[in-house]
């Protein structure tokens, strides 16, 4: 599958089948995440996989808000994965401090996306969650208090395999050539690329 196809096929799955996920498939997603690049090859991540349905349901409760529909779908997810931010190596720490940029967050975004892209190859669906009660999640997963969990990922067999139409900005609106805001590629080139990518 071409990368464009894979990226198009990945979508935020919010309805899962009531089917357990094989550990081999979970390990395959983790292997994809392992290959992710990171600042100074720091690899500042650890994945806690909750694939016991009862424990996943308890974890799901920590992603919702009373009287709100937010994240209610997580209760159906047979697996929830927490990405714990580990201390970056010294070079990444010093670089991040001097440049005032938490590189590890970009690293963790990349690793999460590697995980989710491999899930598509395995016939699985995912949804990344940034909104949850981090303190409660950490306590439940025995994660040391001083570490953080930037993201959770739900994982399972999607009820529907076909993604909805992706809602994204137009290609020609997300780039410039040479200077910010300067579009010097003929409009049609961008359109041609999009056309040629349609199947």
């Amino acid at each position: 599958m071409s990368f464009h196809k894979l990226a198009n096929k990945r979508f935020s799955v919010r309805k899962y089948k009531n089917t357990p996920v094989e550990r081999e498939k979970i390990l395959s997603c983790l292997e994809a995440a392992r290959l992710t690049p990171s600042a100074c090859n720091s690899q500042p991540w650890h994945f806690v996989v909750v694939d016991n349905p009862e424990e996943a349901a308890i974890l799901a409760d920590k992603t919702t808000l009373p009287l709100s529909k937010l994240n209610q779908f997580t209760r159906e997810s047979p697996v929830i994965v927490a990405i714990v931010a580990e201390k970056p190596n010294l070079s990444a720490q010093i670089g991040g401090m001097i440049k005032k940029k938490p590189y590890y967050l970009m690293d963790i975004g990349m690793a999460a996306e590697h995980f989710c892209l491999q899930a598509v190859e395995e016939g699985l669906g995912t949804c990344m969650l940034g909104w949850f009660n981090e303190k409660a999640v950490k306590e439940f997963l025995s994660v040391p208090a001083k570490k953080s969990i930037p993201l959770l990922i739900t994982l399972g067999y999607p009820e529907k395999e076909l993604p909805p139409n992706k809602i994204r900005a137009k290609l020609e609106d997300i780039y410039s050539f040479g200077k910010y805001g300067h579009l010097d590629t003929p409009h049609s080139s961008a359109l041609d690329v999009r056309e040629s990518l349609k199947e």
Copy 2:
């Protein structure tokens, strides 16, 4: 190409051929980045592509330090892409404020990696740079002062296409099942997955 193969093939390319990169290929990488997921579908990114060799060389100078070897390779890169962080939409802004998490950095990490993975499919190489003189880069690219540039990406035809051996933590050291630090998958399963992924 399977995603594992693609992820294995991507490496930080620090030697480029003196060959221009076709705009069609750059647009294809941008299209892959366009498909990236983001918090609240905020898509907080804009890509400034510098593919004029003289301008790329000026930009390269803003990634180095006097008397240091750091990022010297950027001078050989025929294309440098700056990722500008755009204001997230209101939901992502409010969520990020309440949870004290700059979601946009994770989003930008993912988009950068989409760009780099597609580059591999196009026979191109990339290297992400987090260390550069951001103020000078913004001035050169006419990026408004209040916006930030979390990452630069060098892009070009790699002198060598074969990646070096990837240095990464072992698979069994980056995950736990159930609770943090708790490995209850037999060690061999993780090893089997790695063996089956070797070609």
